[in-house]
């Protein structure tokens, strides 16, 4: 397989505090009781992409992630874990591991992606068009990204969040315009030269860049080398490639120009590439080729293609990059998108580990998960929640729309709603939590009532 995969697993994201720490970096945050990175790894395995480099920010985090992966996937995947300094950005991460990259094409995927989009299809699209970059797009999730994470799913009426503006050609194959980050809220500025060449651009606000890209390695590395200031693939590299697609500087640099008298001194690689482009679309030229060709048929302008793969609306695709997203993804994975979880659900549409113990009159509703060795007292009620391994839960406890990680002790009469409880937390009797995040090892005093708070050890 000449696709090399780079999984950008991140480090300890500030946005996810207090859920993450050096021991549990982003990549190991459990979603339905397994680390989020396992979803990406399994997706890759399904597409037979087994040659991976997992890039983690920070040495400690890398050790932890590496340890987990080698334990879980020892014989299934060929994984290399590389540590990079913190805050180098996605572009910096690729720069740091450049010497590992050898394949013709590189698939860069974010480690926090939870999706069932066939990655093979993305790779195939990339190959078919001989594109410089292919980005995967999915429909933007309905609930917006929540900054504080304290709004426990209340704003469901919100309009689809606007993550980026995407300009596509009428056939929806090519990426002609992209505005990300702060540009999204500004006035739309579209290059006329691209519009002239394409004739029509459809601007969509309802698509989200899923941070899964296939790059042509040589060009990605060239761009990263030349543009030392590029920090992020999504905000710098991709927009740059999109903007320069009709006047490809990346290609021109390594390649001799076509001479006036027709003696072509093109390096073999790019010659081959032109040939493959023409062969691939012999029936109908894409606008890139039409644009590159002068009336007498000689190609005198370098173009490159930026393609998109648009995931079908029935596919699930989400990124775990905020606490809101964490709650949403957990809910979805044991709910609507339960095929992702890899577990088989019971007739009641929930998963209760055989070793879990339930007290009398305790009910566990549908779309719930109860981990290995957890115990619940009498008259408890669990709705749309995930409960981890070896938790001790007392009597008369209500858990609704929440995530409880491993080794959590919950005293009698507690009520937990819309909250995330990290591992080794102790909730004393009659604690009431609503829309809270409780950091690992924290002790919530008996009878305390919290709403929309972040509780963590100092």
């Amino acid at each position: 397989m000449d696709f090399q995969v780079v999984v950008l697993a991140g480090g300890v994201s500030k946005k996810l505090l207090p859920l993450v720490s050096k021991e549990i970096p982003n990549a190991l945050l459990p979603v339905a009781n397994r680390p989020v990175i396992s979803y990406v790894l399994e997706l890759l395995e399904l597409s037979n992409l087994k040659d991976l480099i997992v890039v983690v920010e920070g040495e400690d985090a890398a050790l932890n992630v590496g340890g987990w992966i080698s334990a879980a996937y020892a014989d299934r995947l060929h994984v290399e874990v590389a540590a990079v300094p913190e805050d180098v950005g996605t572009a910096g991460a690729i720069r740091a591991i450049a010497h590992h990259l050898t394949a013709k094409d590189i698939l860069v995927v974010s480690g926090d992606l939870v999706s069932d989009v066939p990655l093979g299809a993305v790779a195939a699209t990339h190959r078919r068009h001989d594109a410089v970059v292919t980005a995967m797009l999915c429909s933007a999730p309905v609930s917006g990204p929540s900054e504080s994470g304290s709004s426990g799913g209340k704003d469901k009426t919100k309009k689809p969040g606007r993550y980026n503006l995407i300009g596509l050609d009428p056939t929806q194959q090519f990426l002609l315009h992209i505005a990300t980050g702060a540009e999204v809220e500004k006035d739309l500025r579209v290059q006329k030269s691209i519009l002239r060449a394409a004739g029509e651009i459809e601007i969509r606000a309802d698509l989200m860049d899923a941070h899964l890209y296939a790059f042509k390695r040589s060009i990605l590395q060239e761009v990263l080398d030349q543009k030392g200031t590029f920090h992020s693939l999504k905000h710098d590299v991709l927009p740059y490639l999109v903007r320069s697609q009709l006047k490809s500087e990346a290609l021109l640099n390594g390649v001799a120009q076509v001479e006036e008298n027709g003696t072509e001194k093109i390096i073999a690689q790019s010659n081959q590439q032109m040939l493959s482009q023409i062969l691939a679309n012999a029936s109908e030229r894409t606008f890139h080729q039409r644009y590159a060709l002068s009336p007498n048929g000689t190609s005198f302008r370098k173009t490159h293609k930026c393609c998109v793969y648009i995931a079908g609306s029935n596919r699930y695709c989400a990124r775990l990059n905020s606490i809101q997203a964490y709650s949403d993804i957990n809910r979805d994975v044991i709910g609507e998108a339960n095929h992702l979880s890899g577990y088989s659900f019971s007739a009641q549409n929930n998963i209760i580990h055989p070793s879990a113990e339930l007290g009398a009159k305790t009910t566990v509703g549908p779309h719930c998960m109860l981990g290995e060795g957890s115990q619940m007292g009498d008259k408890c009620s669990v709705k749309r929640s995930v409960i981890g391994r070896h938790c001790r839960i007392g009597a008369n406890v209500k858990v609704v729309n929440s995530i409880v990680m491993n080794h959590v002790t919950i005293g009698d009469g507690c009520s937990i709603q819309g909250s995330v409880i990290c591992s080794n937390v102790q909730l004393q009797e009659r604690a009431v939590l609503k829309d809270c995040q409780v950091g690992a090892g924290f002790v919530v005093a008996a009878g305390s009532e919290c709403k929309g708070e972040v509780l963590a050890k100092k």
């Binding site: 689809p160 606007r162 503006l165 300009g167 990300t180 980050g181 540009e183 809220e185 500004k186 006035d187 739309l188 500025r189 579209v190 290059q191 006329k192 030269s193 519009l195 002239r196 060449a197 394409a198 004739g199 029509e200 651009i201 459809e202 601007i203 969509r204 606000a205 309802d206 030349q226 543009k227 200031t229 590029f230 920090h231 992020s232 905000h235 710098d236 590299v237 927009p239 740059y240 903007r243 320069s244 009709l246 006047k247 500087e249 644009y291 002068s294 009336p295 302008r301």
Partner: protein, 725 residues
């Protein structure tokens, strides 16, 4: 703002119309046909003949438009005639259009309209339009069906009374290299909401130096997606609600249908009027805007894209034309030599004579032409009664009625010969030249305005009056003087005006030369270079601002602009003794138009005052101080009206510092004095001065020069304050 709902002269007898009766009372579909293009693109021909009567494949253009309107179910047409109105009305009368049984054609004559806007305003005054109407110009060829577009328009109108217009558009690839369509029209950028088909953005006559299309963010806030188009062509067929007419009346400065009206409606979000588009796919619709579209549309007609508007179906006045194989159309009574070769896609008019060994291809020949032997005609439009003597060569030219080409004359590509011109023997008319019996109008003010002023008022009337005499008189009068066209030639070769040398190929009948295209391709590459030079790309990945388009630059220039404007306003106020209230009013309107804060106004007004004080002659610093005092006391009210807040007063002090830095010699020594004066005049309060000092406390030493200067004064203020307490 409502539509004129009163019953008009010939309309239905409705007095008050409600929603319901709208459906019950059948309103005849009306149309306004503008029989004047209000531009000069068809000069020199249009100096003598109205554009709508120019023969298009041997049939005057207006017939295509009227025939289409009739077939599309329009019952009531108002033909607006302006230039050469008499000729148009005479023609309509003669050709029987004015006496059709179920198709009423009414002419409206005007002599002082210079634009489509004027025409529509006049029609509004006449009060003849009662419902939705089709707005079209008399040079449009179409075979589209209006049913669906009309139904869509009505449906939208019912739901949203602000949907006043539906524009018909058609797909047409624009050549990206030369930035124009095959019709020779400028490239057009549009943004359309794909779901509602609402038009959000319309940009023609693009400024090529700007590589970025700028769309307001509010478009995307309201629409989840929108499509940007460069591949569409405006057919200039509009379905309008009656409000359109009143809009033209309300906005008396609207002249051009697209440039002013459409732009105006799209920009103005106060009234919320909306324009929608209707795209046609298999039907034909094109407007003849220039010589290139004349050529393109003629070919389309010959190739039968416009069926049923084709020569063998359209018969007006002349006898039947028959279609033969290879797209050859021949009228009757043609006498053609055996040895003459007539190529495909050629139209030969009634009674034309063609000599030996003559070769004609891709051309249209009118009626009664005499073509000699060994003549080569390629891609030409030869109108009626033209005489072409032996051995002439014509290449992609338009030859008007009664022109004579003496033997051996050569027309290079792109030549236009207007009526009755005579070209001398062996004379070669250079490419792209315009030849006419009339001299080129000299007043040619290369101003935008000319676009609309179609010379109609001046030249038309003259020509109209002397229609007949002119014909015989003119050649005699000029025959001696004209040697411009060779021996015995008659006519003037017009000078190329306003540096169109370079651009003449764009709108010519001749095909675009290949070298121009490759040249354009090269410049296109340069265009790209301009828009994204990767090396100066900011790291954030934002688009490189065009040097004249960047946000910051804009801010700056707008700042500058605002200050300059305020200064000019102030000076005018001083010189013309305008009242303070009026000055304030003017500055306020500037503030609104530049989107400024009150503090900006205060600063700018103060700056203007100080500038004025410096510019007033003075001998010494004392003199300057006196000037300052005068100006401040005279215009104090104008300044204080912007000083409602302490922030604005601080702004003034900061501005003053700036002024002092700029003209150090003049003001710097007077800083404290003037500050004191401002304080005494109650223009600035002590709080402002103190907080200014406070603000400056942490600044660089360089910034504190003036604070230090005023230290004494500030100390005094502080002491006074303490004493007060």
């Amino acid at each position: 703002m409502g539509a004129p709902k009163k019953s008009g002269g010939g309309g239905g007898g409705r007095v008050s119309v409600t929603e319901d009766s709208d459906e019950l009372v059948r309103v005849p579909l009306q149309a306004i046909l503008l029989a004047d293009s209000f531009n000069t693109k068809f000069r020199p021909i249009t100096l003598e003949c109205p554009k709508v009567l120019l023969p298009l494949v041997n049939v005057p253009m207006i017939n295509y438009t009227l025939t289409w309107l009739e077939s599309a179910g329009v019952e009531d047409v108002f033909v607006f005639c302006c230039a050469h109105s008499k000729q148009v009305i005479d023609y309509l009368d003669k050709s029987g259009w004015l006496s059709q049984p179920n198709f009423s054609v009414t002419t409206i004559e005007s002599h002082n309209s210079v634009s489509a806007g004027d025409a529509l305003r006049l029609i509004y005054e006449r009060n003849v339009i009662h419902g939705d109407f089709i707005l079209i110009s008399g040079d449009t060829v179409s075979n589209m069906s209006l049913t669906q577009a009309l139904a869509e328009h009505k449906e939208r109108k019912k739901k949203d009374s602000n949907a006043v217009m539906t524009m018909v558009i058609k797909r047409s690839k624009t050549n990206p290299a030369i930035h124009q369509s095959r019709l020779g029209t400028d490239e057009l950028f549009m943004a359309i909401n794909p779901d509602t088909k609402q038009l959000l953005y319309y940009e023609e006559r693009t400024d090529l130096s700007k590589g970025i299309m700028h769309l307001d963010k509010s478009f995307l806030a309201d629409n989840p997606s929108l499509t940007l188009h460069h591949d569409k062509q405006d057919c200039y067929i509009d379905i309008c609600s009656p409000e359109v007419l009143s809009l033209f009346t309300d906005n008396f400065d609207y002249q051009h249908l697209r440039r002013h009206f459409v732009k105006g409606l799209l920009v103005d979000d106060i009234m919320g009027y909306k324009i929608f588009v209707h795209e046609i796919h298999s039907n034909y619709a094109s407007r003849i805007d220039n010589f290139r579209s004349y050529d393109t549309v003629s070919r389309d007609i010959i190739h039968r894209w416009t069926y049923p508007m084709v020569p063998d179906v359209m018969n007006y006045g002349n006898t039947a034309t028959k279609l033969e194989r290879q797209g050859m159309y021949r009228a009757s009574e043609i006498s053609q030599s055996q040895s003459a070769v007539i190529g495909p896609f050629t139209v030969l008019g009634f009674g034309t004579k063609i000599g030996n060994n003559t070769i004609i291809s891709d051309s249209v020949i009118g009626k009664g032409c005499k073509i000699g032997s060994n003549v080569q005609i390629k891609g030409c439009y030869i109108w009626d009664h033209v005489t072409i003597e032996d051995g002439c060569k014509l290449n992609h030219a338009i030859v008007c009625n009664e022109v004579t080409l003496k033997s051996g004359a050569v027309l290079e590509p792109g030549v236009i010969l207007s009526f009755k011109v005579v070209v001398g023997p062996e004379f070669v008319v250079p490419p792209y030249s315009y030849v006419s019996l009339l001299q080129q109008p000299v007043e040619e003010d290369s101003d935008e305005e000319l676009e609309y002023a179609d010379s109609t008022s001046v030249i038309t009337s003259k020509v109209d009056k002397s229609d007949e005499e002119d014909a015989s008189e003119v050649p005699e009068a000029r025959i001696s003087s004209v040697s411009e066209l060779g021996m015995g030639g008659v006519g003037y070769i017009w000078q190329k005006c306003e540096g169109s040398q370079e651009e003449e190929w764009r709108h010519s009948v001749a095909p675009i030369p290949a070298d121009k295209i490759s040249e354009a391709m090269k410049t296109m590459e340069d265009d790209l270079e301009l828009t994204h030079d990767g090396s100066i790309l900011p790291p954030s990945g934002e688009l490189i601002p065009d040097s004249n388009d960047s946000d910051e630059d804009n801010e700056d220039s707008r700042d500058d602009f605002f200050e300059r404007e305020v200064e000019a306003t102030f000076l005018r106020a001083v010189n013309e003794n305008i009242q303070e209230d009026h000055l304030i009013l003017e500055v306020n309107s500037l503030k609104l138009s530049c989107n400024k804060l009150t503090a900006d106004c205060a600063g700018a007004v103060f700056y203007a005052m100080m500038k004025y004080a410096v510019d007033t002659p003075h001998s010494s610093l004392d003199g300057l101080m006196q000037n300052v005092n005068d100006v401040l006391s005279k215009w104090k009210k104008a300044l204080t009206s912007y000083l409602t807040d302490i922030d604005e007063q601080i702004e003034i002090i900061l501005k003053f510092e700036e002024i002092c830095l700029e003209s150090a010699r003049e003001f710097a020594p007077l800083f404290t004095k003037i500050l004191l004066h401002l304080y005494k005049e109650d223009i600035i309060e002590e709080d402002a001065i103190l907080s200014w000092e406070d603000e400056k406390r942490d600044a660089d030493e360089a910034d504190k020069v003036f604070v230090n200067k005023a230290q004494e004064f500030i100390q005094w203020l502080k002491v006074a304050e303490e004493e007060d307490e």
